[in-house]
């Protein structure tokens, strides 16, 4: 068949609004690559809901939904398919589909689609989709030959808070790109506007990662604060309790995968009690065998627990190897919540913040609403007097140590979901969690809470300005200065005890 004739036929076909989808598919397959590209462009400019099925099949490399034959498309065609499909999906009734389509169009839309996008833009009811469409439309109009259209596009871009709008505007403001002075000034104002909105998102993002870091510090330091307040000893092996919790998660993951693979989605939930039990068990064992014999000698306890931590680390290294082990996120913890165009909050971190607060609440209830908690508080305030009143201080010590270690184990489960799990895991958190305890004051839940979140946020806010290392050093210096003013930490127990 001569080429001209083929073209004519295709053109005729496009003029027929009632062309059946099956016919579309046949023509598409029969056409050469160039023709296919033209077809796709035309379809993108004039979407027809009937073609969605064909296009989504094409996107997956098939000819029709049920067809198993593979279709080879080059990169350009694949891009065009995506674009055409997005164009069609704008007609969808589902707003999330429309949003995804509009975001795709921001990247791929062609000038021929302006009229269609304009119509959709005018009739779109969903705010998020509306904003995304505005950006897609503005992207196209920026290259229009009419300055008035460009001006409108620039103003439109200024109203969005999208990182892409910034790159677009910056490209436009490069020397020699835009000749019209009015458009340039408008672009400058819009750029400033966009930057302001983006800055807001960035700051929020930093604050969020600060909260996230704070929640981890909180999980790491909470148990430490309890044992330090109660026994007056620093447990240098506390970081290793985190590590044990993380490794317990790893083992649970493997066991669940092997024996109950259908529950794999919920293995972190199974790991929580296991990790708590493992860490608490090891903690109580340590308290009974070593730490108990060192009461009243805090510096020696520090050294002995350091020895314990060395042994635990090496034992884990021999058992699981020195390399990091792989702990996978279940599906419901991966992905994130898009709050602003440049701010995505990962679900795993959101869950961990909530989890940390939940653990604090539980600990608070345990310390303030149970018999054990009463005993722990009594011993913290005055060991001798509590013993005189019949509090079994030895048992309380053991249980409190177990509780503190168990909380660290829970922290280990949380850590395994966002970081690497290796034998040195605990070492990297131990100094920070000590600083939380020092800053927050001993035996104080509220102090630990404020200190952990404060340190986390301060760390993350300083990081982009002066770098992570200098930020850490500055924070250390600030803590030393702070202790000048408040030697007992943020929240001190009031008392008149002197040695």
């Amino acid at each position: 068949m001569p080429k001209a004739l083929q073209r004519l036929l295709l053109g005729l076909l496009l003029l027929l609004p009632l062309a059946a989808p099956a016919a579309d598919a046949d023509y598409f397959i029969a056409a050469k690559a160039n023709e296919q590209a033209r077809l796709l462009q035309d379809w993108a400019a004039q979407p027809d809901p009937a073609r969605v099925e064909l296009l989504s099949a094409l996107q997956q490399g098939r000819i029709a939904a049920g067809d198993t034959r593979k279709l080879r498309l080059n990169n350009r065609l694949r891009g065009l398919v995506d674009n055409a499909l997005a164009s069609h999906q704008l007609l969808s009734a589902d707003s999330t589909v429309r949003l995804a389509a509009a975001q795709q169009l921001q990247k791929s839309a062609q000038p021929a689609q302006v009229a269609f996008l304009d119509r959709r833009f005018a009739s779109e009811a969903d705010a998020a989709v509306h904003a995304a469409l505005a950006l897609a439309l503005a992207n196209l109009q920026l290259v229009d030959s009419d300055p008035a259209v460009r001006l409108a596009a620039v103003r439109l871009l200024g109203e969005t808070g999208d990182p892409m709008a910034r790159t677009r505007l910056e490209a436009l403001l490069e020397p020699g790109v835009e000749s019209n002075a009015g458009v340039r000034t408008a672009a400058e104002t819009s750029l400033a506007q966009v930057k302001r909105k983006l800055l807001f998102g960035e700051l929020l993002g930093q604050a969020f990662s600060g909260l996230s870091l704070g929640s981890i510090l909180l999980l790491a330091a909470l148990g430490l604060a309890i044992t330090f307040g109660l026994l007056g000893v620093i447990n240098m092996a506390h970081g290793e309790m985190l590590m044990l919790g993380a490794y317990a998660t790893y083992v649970v993951q493997i066991l669940v995968q092997r024996y109950v693979p259908e529950a794999i989605e919920f293995y972190p939930l199974i790991a929580l009690p296991v990790a708590f039990a493992v860490s608490a068990g090891v903690g109580m064992l340590l308290e009974r065998t070593v730490i108990r014999h060192l009461y009243g000698r805090p510096l020696e306890t520090l050294l002995a627990t350091w020895g314990i931590s060395l042994i635990l680390i090496q034992a884990i290294r021999l058992l699981f190897g020195a390399q990091n082990v792989e702990v996978a996120n279940p599906a419901w913890l991966s992905g994130g919540l898009q709050v602003l165009p440049n701010l995505v909050l990962p679900y795993s971190r959101l869950v961990i913040i909530a989890f940390a607060l939940f653990v604090v609440l539980l600990t608070w209830l345990l310390l303030n609403r149970t018999r054990l908690g009463l005993n722990v508080r009594a011993v913290t305030q005055n060991r001798n007097m509590a013993a005189c009143c019949g509090v079994p201080t030895g048992r309380v010590d053991m249980l409190a140590f177990g509780l503190g270690s168990g909380i660290a184990g829970l922290g280990g489960v949380a850590l395994s979901q966002i970081g690497n799990v290796g034998p040195d895991l605990g070492q990297s958190y131990i100094i920070d969690s000590f600083l939380v305890v020092v800053l927050g004051g001993v035996g104080q839940l509220a102090g630990s809470l404020w200190a952990a979140f404060g340190l986390g946020i301060a760390n993350k806010l300083l990081e982009p300005q002066i770098g992570a290392v200098l930020g850490k050093i500055l924070i250390l210096a600030l803590i030393i200065l702070f202790i000048q003013k408040r030697p007992q930490g943020l929240f001190a127990l009031k008392g008149r005890v002197i040695d």
Binding site: L299, L303, G307, A315, V438, V469, I473
Partner: protein, 359 residues
Amino acid sequence: MNQPLLVTASQKAGPRWTLAIGTTVLLVLLALPVLSLLPAGHSLQVSAYTLTLVGKILCYAIVALALDLVWGYAGLLSLGHGLFFALGGYAMGMYLMREASGDGLPAFMTFLSWSELPWYWAGTQHFAWALCLVVLAPGLLALVFGYFAFRSRIKGVYFSIMTQALTFAGMLLFFRNETGFGGNNGFTHFRSILGFEITAQSTRAVLFLLTVALLVASLYLGWRLARSKFGRVLTALRDAENRLMFCGYDPRGFKLFVWVLSAVLCGLAGALYVPQVGIINPSEMSPTNSIEAAVWVALGGRGTLIGPLLGAGLVNGMKSWFTVAFPEYWLFCLGALFILVTLYLPRGVVGLLNKRGEQ
């Protein structure tokens, strides 16, 4: 324990024994470098490896002694002495790097394509200024940190934690390439010191002798301090700070003096360590190293001056043997050492020997 243990020990055992053992050890140490100069193949020849190993342990022994001064006498457990040690080492390393690179920039700076030396490198081509830095860098840092720490009466575990955080921060800082101290790799590939080739046997022998001299000098200094009224005040400060204050003493000055002195001793030890071992990098500042120094002191016996030297020798000797024979079990051994010493040897080996002597 009203008197420093060393004093008690020497009084009990009689000056004869102390003197005899001390002199023997000293003679052996003085003989080592001489024997190392013997021609290779001679039956009495001491290899360069042995000499370096013993020299390294002697440097650690000085650190242990310095730590004993603050921990054993003033009751301040520092977990950051590795920082002072490394600072002294880095100060000496700066000179050695300048010496190795001649008029040009040290190799790692050319690698970072820097065109000129940072300001704090000024003058480091002079040995005398490098020596000043060896004393000043750890001394000033200790002075500033100590001033603030003692002013707000930070003590006990709080003090330990803060010093640990300090050395940790130092390590992070020195790991950065931008800090200008060779980052991860630190300083190495030294060539000469004061014009003498650094790997030559004679240079090694002299450095070794200097280390022995510093050790003896710091031991003498510590001994004099411990016997003096100053030492008694320190002990009182350790045992009952408040009572000491009620007696009209201001503990801050005492603490600050012994703290800075200890830091400077560490710096000097580091300065002797670097040319002998031939490398200094930020891992020397890692909290692990500093806390290991605490176990040397604890094993030997706190507040005894001799004990820490013994402890440093024992632990490091064991470490060199273990890391060759059973590298995987060394950490178990070290961990067990930490636990057993604190549980069963609160006065260390020297305390154990003393008890024997009393019985």
